[in-house]
Symmetry: C2
């Protein structure tokens, strides 16, 4: 166990004399790749903040990428999930944790109050680890535990239902608009399958969506370090990255590093799926250093407390674990309450049985006791606990398919319907809810998953793992699943849980986490584009214009991974001059199609442009003459049908 | 220029003492990664051949992967595009080229005859390279040039129309069935959007599909080294890999190496997109050493012959280039005859203009001369030349969109309709035809591409580049495009042209080629699965069973890339014993959901199994009792609706 907590490590860049890169920003980022907690701005962009109007102390972060002055274009504003780590004005010290974003208004209004006797850490919380095996505790003396006051609203759902716009709601409204103006023209070109994406997101729209249960802001009152974000079908598609140690591998510093690394590249949420010992202490380090919502699967820790014997699980142990984690500040819990006793036999003939850890634990418990799941039986009690801290539900799909063969089967959909019933109960209790989905699904069965979810779960946000569209490529399941993720995101899934190249094979390392995050940013953005989200296209268009105009630096900086794009370019054409050359390495100077296209455009402009070359003017004049002739004949100026799907 | 042509390099493995790998096969493959022409069997499988029935001298290759005896399952047969390079009994000598697969039956029957005065190589064919700048010539003294005899059929289309089943047709029929028995049960679970995929492919079915123009066997009579393959909507989806040097980079040995490397991992076709000097000599090396069809874009070489000045292109130079390449043995030509003069102005307002090299060359020619394209004007002459060698058309999409913003626009669809007109002309001339497609298309506009192509191009096979579903991820366009490729393959595209991570940034190296090929094998297979191709699912199911039963070695070997899967696994759990362990590194021994599922299955079996544990029997008895109760109540044994799309 080796924790990087020296102030130097956290606030300064390690010196890497062998790394030569053109930009200071890129150098910092790459240096970060070599270990330690990655801090400093991302290449090519600067961090900017937008203040709230209703709540002026809100500061919503964005990454702004300026393009070359020759383009005469405004900078591009990008969603920024990276937190204070990329703000050069913030001093990072992971021993102290992040600054608190959340205002004290809930406290001022008497909606929440400090818990006078918070739960003490028990030896079993860390698997009885002791001595050198015990991970150091995060110093929580500064972490006061809060709870909702009886009779007062505490969850975002309750505020929304009561017609109250919270600071969190304004925060996410600003965040979703990416600094677009409310009255600016926007491109609405897409097929949204019945979603209701507005041209511009207002705080009131956010409130309405949360009140209808169609969106959630996962945000435990005990996690004030969070920069609020929203998950819902009518907002930008989000992605989740899983981290966590296991009984076999990993340690505290690795997990904090992966957390920061994942959010640096764009993870909107992180789930801590740790098992084994030290689970409590590691979680403190993660939550106190996370600016994104943290999710967990409490049954994992509950099982550790009963020494891994599923049959020994009890409601009491589980309840204690919920309170433990809620007080720490976990923002959402995966609860596998849909794995009911009668559904278990439906999995017996599957090719891959039950592949969800939580699902299999509960199935074993049900079988061993001949009883209905205690999660199902105590669901209202669970709601009461979670509501008191505004921990959101992520209703787990414990019976999701683990192979193409098992997709969309009886067990899976029986559970989904149960999750729909539970959603109504949770809402009635005032809780925020999202629904987990598969898994492994061939392309032709993906849409049915979304349709069934919308039908049975009352439009609560869907949160899927992939799905993987084939089983034949271990080592490449980030790709097999990105295909399914992009599609189900398009159909309406609100958050996509990433899959890394190590899926099915091992625990992801740093590179795997980055590959998984970038791959899922692609899937989420492809989905936003296809849905016709009005904030999506401007990013693609800005990059495409940079590409067409050979603004190489802009093309790198506007991409999801500037460092990698630059590296690939430089492998073929390393010279600095080539970054302004009007050709690229694929064609060379003579063959460049982009260059020829520019000639064509120049020619087309020639007629109206005194500066046009004679040849271009000739060409244009000839074109015009021929054009007139063709039009008269009515044959050659074909007008292609408009794309029936497109609204343009 | 450094060509690896020593017999040692070609036929023996370079010694790599520092590489330690568990299997001899894997060692060979990885050694191959370090350079030289990669030979030797792929990890985990053996090469097998199936003889023809109509034509007994046909030997159709497959890769057979045996699974662990405990599984009690037959070996899995996989499509094998790797050619003789993976056959340990074949001696590879790239100076001599590959053995000839094709029988002499066309010659025996008088359908083809040697060309008495084949075209001589001219200095301009290699860009006037000389001395040390001239790439060595392949010794073609053994390559006799053939041509169709006047009045006799020569193309597969003509034979098919005449009701004749050729050896090529039987070859591909055997190949498509993957050693399934004609009367074996098959899984037909998919949505094929009106395709007509049979349960079992017969030579007669192949003939019918070719006669209808719905499929092609690209196969120049001067490329007898080819192992025939078929491209059509009712067959397995194929993939193409692009290689080729440019004016900036690359050399002969790199290109032959990339060819063999690409086919080793599964490329079904390879396009040689070389530009610059030595283009003729490099092509000889590629064709004589290729067991897959080779495509080119002849306008690239024609432009070299006029020193890169598009305006100086003439029909005569182009015609000469077609004959040059047809005699060498190129199997298909991309011909951009759909870039017509009146369509060029439609591109002027695009964000990214014309991005096809061939398209932009022709557009520039049209503008400069104020004339209709000579490719369009001479289309029938082109057909006559190509027919005489059975060179297939790949009708180029010179006006394909180069950005999300330009997708499905007027220019693109105007060209597509023209390609449909040209298809009919080519068929009337006896030629085989496929149609190229985009490009950059957001998900919601992909289906319209397939629909328009089917409508206007009379079901000629569609061959698309990606499409990329977003423009924001330079460095990851294999992934942005795999999403679109999988979808359009599902909708009916017959062949997918790969995109590598270097797209838009530089020329692909070895690792990029492999990444591109594996990514596109995933897309093609996901498409086959979703279409319900009866040969697709058995591969996924075999791998899923291996996964569920912790047969790690089988899981590696059945995957698309056994070496990478093994490496990823070993990074977490390197010990040999862990390859038989009933858990994996993600959960560790106590948490394993697969293991718990097996317990559940055992419990479910308990009642009928004398060997079942008492606990399991108890569980089962209790389950049965509860089950009966639930059924009586009619409430809890929910039956989920069948997936409306699925046929299962």
């Amino acid at each position: 166990m080796n924790i990087q907590v020296t102030p130097q490590a956290a606030t300064e860049q390690p010196h890497e004399p062998n790394v030569e890169l053109p930009l200071a920003d890129a150098r910092k980022a790459v240096a970060a790749e070599h270990g330690r907690i990655p801090t400093g701005p991302r290449a090519g962009g600067v961090k900017v903040y937008v203040a709230g109007e209703l709540f002026p102390d809100i500061r919503v972060p964005f990454r702004e990428v300026a393009v070359h002055p020759s383009a005469n274009e405004p900078p591009v504003t990008m969603y920024d999930s990276s937190g204070p780590y990329t703000d050069p004005t913030v001093t990072i010290d992971i021993k102290k944790g992040l600054p608190r974003v959340k205002s004290s208004w809930q406290l001022d209004r008497g909606d929440i109050a400090p818990v006078l006797n918070p739960r003490e850490v028990k030896p079993e919380d860390n698997g009885h680890a002791s001595g050198k095996h015990l991970a150091p505790r995060f110093d929580v003396s500064n972490h006061q535990v809060f709870k909702g006051v009886e009779g007062r609203p505490v969850t975002q759902y309750e505020y929304a239902q009561a017609g109250i716009i919270t600071p969190e709601m304004e925060y996410v409204a600003i965040r979703e608009n990416l600094r677009r103006e409310q009255n600016a023209p926007c491109i609405r070109d897409g097929e949204d399958f019945g979603a209701s994406i507005p041209d511009f997101v207002t705080p009131e729209f956010v409130r309405q969506e949360i009140a209808r249960g169609r969106a959630i802001i996962p945000h435990n009152i005990n996690h004030p370090e969070v920069e609020p974000m929203i998950i819902g079908r009518n907002f930008l598609v989000k992605i989740n990255a899983n981290i966590g140690n296991s009984a076999v591998l990993s340690s505290v510093d690795d997990e904090v590093d992966k957390l920061v690394w994942a959010t640096r590249w764009g993870a909107d949420n992180v789930m801590d799926l740790s098992t084994g010992r030290n689970i409590h202490n590691i979680r403190d380090w993660i939550i106190r250093n996370s600016s994104v919502p943290i999710g967990t699967v409490p049954i994992y820790q509950a099982l550790e407390k009963v020494n891994g014997i599923a049959e020994d699980l009890t409601w009491e142990v589980f309840r204690d674990t919920l309170i433990e984690q809620a007080e720490q500040g976990v923002d959402y819990f995966t609860i596998h309450a849909g794995v009911r006793l009668p559904f278990v036999p439906m999995t017996a003939k599957r090719v891959t049985g039950i592949v969800s850890r939580g699902g299999s634990i509960m199935a074993k418990w049900c079988l061993a006791h001949h009883k209905e799941s205690f999660l199902y039986e105590h669901f209202e009690d669970i709601c009461d606990i979670m509501r008191a801290y505004d921990v959101s539900f992520s209703l787990g799909d414990g019976l999701r398919p683990g192979s193409i063969a098992d997709a969309n089967d009886e067990a899976q959909f029986a559970e989904l319907r149960t999750l729909g019933e539970l959603t109504k109960i949770a809402w009635a209790k005032g809780c925020q809810v999202m629904i987990e989905g598969p898994g492994h699904v061939p392309m032709h069965k993906i849409k049915a998953n979304m349709d069934e979810q919308l039908k049975h779960c009352h439009e609560a946000p869907f949160y899927t793992l992939g799905p993987l569209t084939t089983d034949i490529a271990p080592g490449y399941d980030h790709i097999t699943s990105a295909i399914g993720a992009a599609m189900i995101g398009w159909f309406g899934t609100a958050m996509l849980c990433y899959v890394t190249p190590k899926e099915h094979l091992g625990l992801p390392d740093r590179q795997d986490v980055k590959d998984g995050v970038i791959t899922y940013k692609i899937a989420a953005h492809a989905a936003d584009l296809a849905k016709g989200h009005p904030a999506a296209r401007m990013h693609d268009d800005a990059l495409s214009r940079a590409r067409f105009e050979f603004r190489w630096e802009d093309q790198f900086n506007l991409g999801l991974d500037p460092e990698t794009a630059r590296k690939y370019h430089d492998e073929t054409l390393p010279k600095e001059a080539h970054k302004t050359a009007h050709f690229c390495s694929m064609c060379g100077p003579k063959f460049c199609s982009m260059k020829i296209s520019q000639d064509i455009r120049d020619a087309a402009r020639g007629q109206n442009d005194a500066g046009g070359s004679l040849a271009a003017q000739d060409a244009e004049a000839g074109m015009a003459e021929m054009s007139a002739k063709f039009r008269a004949g009515g044959q050659i100026y074909l007008t292609a049908d408009k794309d029936p799907v497109s609204a343009t």
